[in-house]
Symmetry: C2
Subunit: 133 residues, 2 copies
């Protein structure tokens, strides 16, 4: 991999991280948002599956490694100013969230409260975003 | 607005910010990612249009205020651990990016380089993410 050519346009923040959105490549659902550092981006590209950086555990987090809900990467996009990324993924098992829901964004503002919208379809597993298991 | 009831589940980071994804409510395209603080989230809810926090200008950024490309908010979602939000928006003018493209995520990793995928359909205006105009 010509890492330099790829990485020179990616703008990591002061902590060496970039926010990454995972979107279901089939139906367009936004599944979750997590973070990557250089090492996890390199692993994502090499393995063609989402490898995030767990900020709580301070280690690489191969999404689905324990739950089986791997995100196979179809496309990787970078935004105009290089400080956010979008993965279009094939969500194995159809479940991205540790609560067993398809998407982590299952709370919807309804009037003045956050209403739980998504149904639980699987078993709780990895923690959203932070990769705690 | 019962601000306390809404805000107690939102987890702002050490800088008082939360990352926010804007998604086209009609076709599911992920348009951009930006940031909100408490004040901009309150304004977004009150005005039902996306009001971000510009980190570069350190002020509220009413998306489209200068370009006309306002994002009218249809739904506001919060993720499972409360530290990321998703707006489903009606993108006025169909253009979210300051480069004149529909989405800010127009660079796609192809082989070992970022290939520009989106066509320019409008005039350059606000800067993505940072709200510089």
């Amino acid at each position: 991999m010509n890492r330099r050519q790829i990485f020179q346009q990616v703008s990591f923040n002061g902590e060496g991280l970039i926010p990454v959105i995972a979107q279901d490549a089939d139906n367009g659902d936004v599944l979750m948002m997590a973070w990557m550092n250089e090492e996890s981006l390199a692993a994502t590209i090499a393995e063609q599956r989402a490898v995030y950086w767990s900020r709580s555990r301070r280690k690489l987090w191969r999404k689905g490694e324990q739950s089986g809900n791997t995100q196979w990467v179809r496309e990787i996009h970078l935004d105009c100013d290089g400080d956010a990324m979008l993965l279009k993924v094939e969500q194995q098992g159809g479940i991205a969230c540790h609560t067993g829901r398809r998407s982590c964004f299952f709370r919807k503002l309804t009037g003045e409260r956050w209403q739980i919208a998504g149904e639980t379809t699987g078993s709780p597993s990895e923690s959203c975003g932070n990769g705690g298991e």
